[in-house]
């Protein structure tokens, strides 16, 4: 008997994937730009074989499961793909198939259960969601009185580091005299973590519920802290076009500055470099608003890292990676902090809670005090008013 290698072509899988991704795989002509541009190649010898995975998906052959959960959905490959293949859709589609067959990375079912039972991905009690705002006396959103809803998001509600971002933004909004409210403990989860790990069916359910809450409360204009929440509200919510007008807070603050409502009076003598969050930049094309804010603050010198804007290196926290362990040698954020260090900047600014958390962890590898990681909301709050003598 001769050993015969038979390749099983899984037509069903191919068809399912084609349906799930709107035919995204068919367009790829296998040039490999994706694999070459993927940041995993910077940290892993056996990189993330994006092209091969797409090919396996095109043919309907197994193998695509192996590295499926590495992708941070940073979109670097999509930005460079000559065929405009929606590669992230392919990864999300494959992940959806993995959910259907119960072959997912350890830790991810727990992430979804956390959202299911506690309405946040951090396994925190829903009754403590508004604890970050204790003492701030924030009004509950009222559509008849408020210009915007401040949508805080799960990470800024619960993560002590990210809570500071929310509090800084509150003081900036207050200083600009913005009429706004929040939803306190009633704030629903946007579901981005669920979408990012590819459970689209569950995401649809969350999006439906959350959209209904917004509708019931009369929310149209909402300002969000995390680019991840912003992205799903803008691009993945069912009724986004109808009535939701989400803005990332950097966009909103930039508007306030150009309208003359927000002024920075304190000069901050800082050399700052800026990390473009993937979901603000590559996913939504917003590169200028955060830089406008930094430029409006007297004393700040803005310098760019060797990769920036559409080629800015991801922090490593997207695509569900915030809930999976990445060994130290493979953290993008370590490289990013080194890039920041090379600019001579003492402050690494960003505008995303995930970036802040990842970069701050990596900045601890540098000598103490060498690199401060700050969210733009925090820098803005520092520049608000001259301290009283």
């Amino acid at each position: 008997m001769t050993d015969e290698i038979r390749l099983q072509l899984d037509d069903h899988m191919y068809e399912r994937l084609a349906a799930l991704t709107g035919g995204a795989v068919a367009v790829c002509y296998q040039c490999g730009t994706c694999t070459a541009s993927c940041p995993w190649g910077l940290v892993r010898e056996d990189y993330l074989p994006v092209r091969t995975i797409i090919h396996q998906a095109q043919l309907g052959v197994p193998g695509w499961q192996d590295n499926l959960w590495l992708c941070t959905t940073c979109g670097q490959c999509e930005a460079l793909c000559p065929r405009g293949v929606k590669i992230i859709d392919i990864f999300r589609g494959l992940r959806e198939l993995a959910w259907e067959s119960n072959h997912v990375e350890k830790g991810l079912p727990s992430l979804l259960w956390s959202v299911y039972w506690s309405e946040n991905p951090w396994s925190q009690p829903p009754s403590q969601r508004a604890a970050w705002a204790k003492g701030l006396d924030l009004p509950v959103f009222d559509a008849t009185q408020h210009e915007i809803l401040l949508y805080v998001g799960c990470t800024s509600s619960y993560d002590q580091r990210a809570q500071k971002i929310a509090r800084a933004l509150v003081s900036t909004l207050n200083a600009a005299g913005v009429k706004y409210g929040y939803l306190g403990n009633e704030e629903p989860c946007c579901g981005e973590s669920v979408l990012s790990v590819g459970n689209k069916e569950y995401f649809k359910e969350i999006a439906g519920k959350t959209a209904a809450v917004f509708k019931e409360k009369g929310v149209t204009d909402l300002v969000v802290i995390s680019p991840h929440c912003y992205d799903v509200f803008k691009n993945h919510y069912p009724m986004a076009e109808n009535y939701l007008k989400p803005k990332h807070y950097t966009q909103y603050l930039a508007d306030l500055i150009s309208e003359g409502r927000l002024k920075f009076e304190v000069a901050l003598k800082e050399k700052v470099t800026f990390q473009d969050p993937c979901y603000l930049g590559r996913h939504n094309g917003e590169y200028e608003a955060p830089r406008q804010i930094l430029s409006a603050i007297p004393g700040i010198e803005l310098v760019e890292m060797e990769t920036n804007r559409s080629e800015g290196l991801c922090c490593g926290g997207g695509g569900g990676r915030m809930w999976l362990e990445t060994v130290n040698a493979e953290r993008f954020s370590n490289l990013r902090v080194k890039q920041a260090e090379k600019t001579g900047a003492g402050t690494l600014a960003t505008a995303c809670p995930f970036c802040t958390v990842c970069l701050e962890d990596s900045a601890k590898n540098l000598p103490p005090g060498k690199m401060r990681v700050k969210d733009i909301a925090e820098i803005a709050a520092q520049a608000l008013k001259k301290p009283r003598e």
Binding site: W122, S123, Q160, A162, L324, E325, N328, V357
Partner: protein
């Protein structure tokens, strides 16, 4: 409701304690329960009896007497060498039916819980599990058990009028050990054991008593962070003194100072110790998730701004390498005093 196998009017005025042993050593919690049992018995002027099943366990009877028992009922049989629910269940049931004690207490160990849950149904009596305190209602001669539920969020006092024995299991570490009194005298009673091999349905194929790290339920968790500078030996020593184990934050795990299975937090172990002792860690959110459920959090860190202090019950601003040796020394000398 249907009566228990024997009722309060048939009870003997005594407190019984199940003495669990493993390879010739009594479980600590059994001695703790014995100490508490002595207190309860003294309040009522009752007898305290220890129930000791095993194989070749006579020597342990003396130790139990020094801890306050008036009588030890020894059930010695080769089939009782290691704990099986069928073997130990059968002989303990028979002994209790013979002695009909008012109160029957067990340590809430893995085996103690198995035994108690099964026997309570066999006696058709009530059982208060994992109690955090016990006392006597002297007037009615009833045992009052304090139990907690909802993750410690609610406490309840529970008693039982007519069913016997009044059973309770006690969480390890809740009660203090009494000082052993070597002059104490008690009676050792050999109880005949009628056990046939075919009664034991459960076979033990393998038994490993060490090497498995389980940080989820250690009483004391000593967590080391970056500020420990890789010196986990000192932390291990401290953990050993306190009867706990060592965990770590991400940086020392990354640096290879300690195994990844000891990483605490969002992508590691979520622990619920009585005390978390945080050494040289700043307190990132993904770490805090792992010690959220600790009853008490104590921390030492040189950075006065460390977020961990917000999350601590007690804290010291200072260098871990300076404080730990002193702390270990102090704890060790305390130990010597209490053992003297």
């Amino acid at each position: 409701m249907p009566p228990s196998r024997y009722r309060e009017n048939e009870e003997s005025k005594a407190v019984w304690v199940y003495l669990e042993q493993e390879e010739g050593t009594l479980e600590n919690v059994s001695l703790e329960v014995l100490s508490k049992g002595r207190e309860l018995a003294d309040v009522m002027k009752w007898k305290l009896v220890g129930l000791l099943p095993g194989s070749g366990v006579h020597a342990l009877a003396k130790e139990a007497i020094t801890r306050g028992a008036d009588e030890i009922w020894v059930m010695d049989h080769p089939l009782l060498t290691t704990f099986t629910i069928e073997g130990h269940g059968a002989v303990v049931y028979d002994a209790v039916m013979l002695g009909k004690p008012s109160i029957f207490l067990l340590g809430a160990t893995h085996n103690g819980r198995d035994l108690a849950g099964r026997l309570a149904v066999r006696f058709r009596t009530g059982l208060n599990a994992d109690c955090t305190n016990l006392h006597m209602d002297e007037k009615d001669a009833l045992l009052v058990s304090e139990v907690s539920g909802f993750g410690g969020g609610v406490v309840a006092m529970i008693e039982m009028q007519n069913h016997r024995p009044q059973m309770a299991t006690v969480r390890p570490g809740v009660f203090a050990l009494s000082e052993p009194d070597s002059a104490r005298r008690g009676k050792v009673i050999d109880v005949p054991v009628n056990l046939k091999p075919e009664q034991i349905k459960t076979r033990i194929l393998e038994r490993v008593r060490s090497g498995v790290v389980d940080l989820t339920r250690v009483p004391v968790l000593v967590v080391g962070g970056r500020g420990v500078n890789g010196d986990f030996e000192t932390l291990k020593k401290l953990a050993e003194i306190l009867g706990g184990d060592v965990g770590a934050t991400r940086p020392p795990v990354d640096a290879g100072f300690i195994e990844r299975e000891r990483q605490i937090g969002q992508t590691g172990v979520v622990s619920s110790p009585k005390m978390a002792l945080c050494c040289g860690l700043s307190g990132a959110f993904h770490l805090l998730v792992g010690i959220d459920k600790a009853d008490v959090v104590v921390s030492i860190n040189s950075d006065p701004e460390a977020p961990i202090f917000e999350f601590s019950d007690y804290y010291i601003v200072g260098d871990v390498s300076q404080y730990l040796p002193v702390l270990i020394q102090t704890l060790e000398s305390q130990q010597e005093i209490s053992h003297a």
